[in-house]
């Protein structure tokens, strides 16, 4: 195991998780914070990820105990961990919550991005997945789960099996990348952990996710259009892009792209989403303009709506039931020596977190400290609701004299 690991870690668990890591590693060859965990030696032999933890085959609980120490070393010093994988199988359904608890007990912010099985994969897998998801909700700060059934529009019979799985994998990849990107945002326009928790910390809520990527002069519009056309952002029975966003309270928006990403493009993205979601929707924007000029712009939208009952029940279960039996005896390390910011109280395991603090945080998600982006600086007038004319990143619907900062003498009322 290499001791040199990034402060932000992405852990891929099981075959699906390792496959996602492989794709991410190819996109971002320089990034060192990948960790592959699997009990399939073939999958680990074929991965391009450098840091791997091989779980012995057999009982997953025994397997976890075997890698427990090494995993602890791997995540030591990390500020955030994003776990990804597909729930439903014995390995990932056990390991994902177990690893989440372990990381959480080290005071690390933990997010999970998991895929739920299709209904045609059988009841047993669905049950396993739902139990594991409940456990994840109990320990993780943010959980994004991709309902594969929703991806295929609820009619998997008409979709080719290979295509359905490929779409599920792509969505899992984009969502993991978006979560990781949101953790990486910094500066004045960023998404805080509190934001992520508000949106993705509600057990059983349906996750609305879309991502789009484009380059060229109209990149923002094209990326936004693609993101809004994602099946998870279209309300069941409707065809309007982004229709599922109508009425949601908070939307997380991540713009990850080249360093020439302009203010006007950020503004256009925000107003484009606002137009669909309604004025009352709070849009938390994060900008990660770190790529070289000419790279494609990726726009990711995450929101949640409604609250499920079945999964909520699972997460309400007593902590002793939530925790995998093999590690209930573990005591979290000092929770004061963590890297939390903005007054967050870590919530590693319910047993040790202060119950009053926890419930207060859960019930008042609107207490935000992040400032909002001032969008009234520019006026688009009659073009406010029309498709923007963007050339070289500049919104040309905004009057030229305003963009050039030319002062005019105001009209005098007679």
């Amino acid at each position: 195991m290499s001791a040199e690991l990034s402060h932000r870690l992405i852990v891929g668990v099981g075959n699906a998780g390792v496959a996602v890591l492989d794709l991410l590693a190819m996109e971002e060859p320089g990034f060192k914070g990948f960790l592959a965990v699997n009990n399939d030696p073939e999958s680990l032999a074929g991965t391009v990820v450098r840091d791997c933890l091989s779980v012995p085959a057999g009982d997953p609980a025994d397997g976890f105990l075997a890698i427990d120490e090494e995993f602890g070393k791997a995540v030591a010093g990390a500020s955030s961990v994003v776990l990804c994988g597909g729930l439903g199988g014995e390995t990932a359904s056990f390991l994902l919550p177990a690893l989440a608890i372990h990381a959480k007990s080290n005071g690390i912010t933990v997010a999970a991005c998991v895929g739920m099985p299709f209904s045609f994969e059988g009841k047993r897998r669905t049950e396993l997945a739902e139990t594991a998801l409940g456990k994840l909700h109990a320990v993780c700060d943010a959980v994004a789960f991709i309902g594969n059934e929703r991806l295929s529009g609820g009619t998997p019979s008409t979709t080719a099996v290979g295509e359905a799985f490929a779409l599920a994998d792509r969505t899992l990849l984009s969502c993991t990348r978006a979560l990781h990107g949101m953790f990486s945002t910094s500066g004045p326009v960023r998404i805080t952990r509190a934001d992520l928790k508000n949106v993705l910390g509600v057990p059983g809520a349906k996750i609305l996710f879309g991502s789009g990527s484009a380059s060229g002069s109209n990149r923002l519009h094209e990326a936004l259009e693609e993101a809004l056309s994602s099946p998870l952002l279209i309300q069941h029975g409707k065809t309007t892009p982004g229709s599922a966003l109508l009425g949601v309270k908070t939307v997380l928006l991540l713009l990850h792209g080249p360093s020439d990403l302009s203010f006007a493009e950020v503004q256009t993205a925000v107003s484009g989403i606002e137009r669909i979601a309604g004025d009352k929707c709070q849009i938390k924007t994060g900008v990660l303009a770190t790529l070289p000029v000419g790279s494609p712009l990726t726009l990711s939208i995450i929101a949640s709506s409604g609250a499920g009952t079945q999964i909520a029940k699972a997460s309400e279960a007593p902590a002793s039931e939530v925790l995998p039996q093999t590690i209930t005896t573990q005591t979290p390390e000092s929770s004061t020596s963590t890297t939390f910011t903005e007054g967050e109280v870590p919530q590693p395991i319910r047993k040790t977190a202060k119950p009053s603090t926890f419930s207060a945080r859960q019930s008042s998600p609107s207490k935000q400290t992040q400032g909002t982006l001032d969008l009234d600086t520019y006026q688009r007038g009659r073009f406010d609701k029309s498709e923007p004319t963007i050339v070289a990143g500049e919104d040309l619907d905004v009057p030229t004299f305003l963009r050039k900062g030319i002062k005019l003498s105001p009209p005098r009322r007679s």
């Binding site: 007038g381 498709e387 050339v391």
Partner: protein, 408 residues
């Protein structure tokens, strides 16, 4: 008069919908019989945003034209514009198995080969306009048909756009039980009547500034070298005035038409414009220099964008223009616009209306009608020796299929 000599041009513009009915005359000439028009609704930046309302407006304009000309309109030529349109130049190469006379099929094949390029999956080809042929290294062959050769190459200017948006325009027209003869790039239509073949040979930049879009096309050596569409036009000027001087849109539009000027405010005489009280509007006094600043900034920017786009895609084409720049379209009536264009493009600039057409003077003296009149002239030129092909065939071929050889 036989009905096949009647051509109807339909321009679904952002400001107005215009239907020109013209009669074909000998020697590629046309004579305008009448114009039907109606103010546009449901159209923004040259594209339909409200199908029902836009269709109703088109119906009104068609009825108006039928009433004025006493012609029952069944077939129309439709102009298309919008910020989604893109263009590029590409060369098609067709190598024969052995040296022989070039046939029509070879010309078709080289055009098909030229379209073997990657355009976005949601786009379709609108035009494939021939620039020049090369036969066995012999450059700029005017007509290779029946010449003997082995390797035929041809340069084309290709225009493509988003399928769904082009289809929206078609659907709007077809819902009125009108048959569409073809869809034509707006600036290509305008160019047919505002510049002469001589100007095309010398090199000319055609700029059609309408309400919602600015379409431009550059000719050199008689062939189209570059084209583009900016989703910017007179509506933006009105909006800028409305935002800058805090006026309602209708007031801003009236002020632009009555007092607007694109003149550089440095040369302005200044002064005050008084707007009177109206129901719902409190009168005010406006500094003329402010109005001119707003308009000048926008107009200048439009020409700068055109200049930069041509420089990016066509190199020093503007510097090589022998016949300068020609401006048309509704916004071309703005005083001082030619001076701004001249300063930015460093070329002689003239504001032009349709020429070499017969009919009522007031029709072709108005630059607003250039595109619709141009459509009828284009139709006249293209249908001289056209074999009948259904619209569906043309859609499947991406529109460029049958006209590639003839568009000049």
């Amino acid at each position: 008069m036989s009905s096949d000599q009647i051509f109807v041009g339909l321009e679904i513009g952002t400001t107005k919908i215009c239907v020109v009915v013209a009669e074909g005359r000998s020697e590629d000439q046309i004579s305008i019989l009448g114009v039907g028009e109606t103010p546009s609704r449901g159209i923004r930046k040259g594209e339909i945003i409200d199908m029902g309302t836009a269709t109703e407006c088109v119906r009104e304009a068609i009825l108006d034209a039928e009433e004025k000309t006493n012609v029952e309109i069944g077939n129309v030529w439709v102009a298309i514009s919008g910020g989604h349109l893109r263009s590029l130049n590409n060369r098609g190469i067709h190598v024969l198995s052995h040296p022989r006379q070039i046939e029509q099929d070879d010309l078709d094949q080289v055009q098909i080969n030229a379209k073997e390029i990657a355009i976005p999956p949601q786009n379709i080809f609108l035009h494939t306009i021939l620039q020049s042929y090369h036969l066995d290294g012999n450059r700029n062959v005017i007509d290779p048909l029946e010449s003997e050769g082995m390797q035929l190459e041809a340069d084309f200017h290709i225009v493509h756009g988003m399928k769904t948006r082009i289809h929206n325009t078609l659907r709007c027209v077809e819902s009125l039980k009108l048959e569409i003869e073809d869809v034509v790039l707006g600036s290509l239509a305008s160019a047919q009547v505002i510049v002469t073949q001589h100007q095309k040979d010398l090199g000319v930049l055609v700029v059609d500034i309408g309400g919602g879009t600015t379409d431009y096309l550059i000719y050199q050596d008689g062939a189209v070298r570059h084209s583009g569409v900016l989703a910017l036009g007179g509506d933006h000027i009105t909006n800028d005035i409305s935002v800058g001087l805090k006026l309602p849109i209708a007031r801003a539009e009236a002020l632009k038409i009555q007092e607007g000027s694109a003149t550089d405010p440095v040369d302005s005489h200044g002064g005050v414009i008084t707007l009177k009280n109206d129901p719902g509007f409190l009168g005010c006094e406006i500094d003329r220099r402010s109005l001119e600043t707003i308009i000048h900034c926008r107009v200048r920017e439009i020409f700068e964008l055109i200049r930069d786009d041509i420089a990016r895609n066509g190199g020093d084409l503007i510097g090589l223009l022998g016949a300068g720049v020609v401006i048309t379209g509704g916004t071309a009536r703005l005083p001082g616009i030619a001076d701004v264009a001249s300063a930015v493009l460093d070329q002689t600039v003239q504001v032009t209306t349709a020429r070499n057409v017969g009919g009522p003077l007031q029709t072709f003296e108005n630059p607003q009608y250039s595109t619709a009149i141009g459509l009828t002239k284009y139709a006249r030129l293209v249908t001289r020796d056209l074999r009948p092909v259904g619209l569906l065939d043309r859609i499947s071929r991406g529109f460029g299929g049958i006209f590639g050889r003839r568009e000049r």
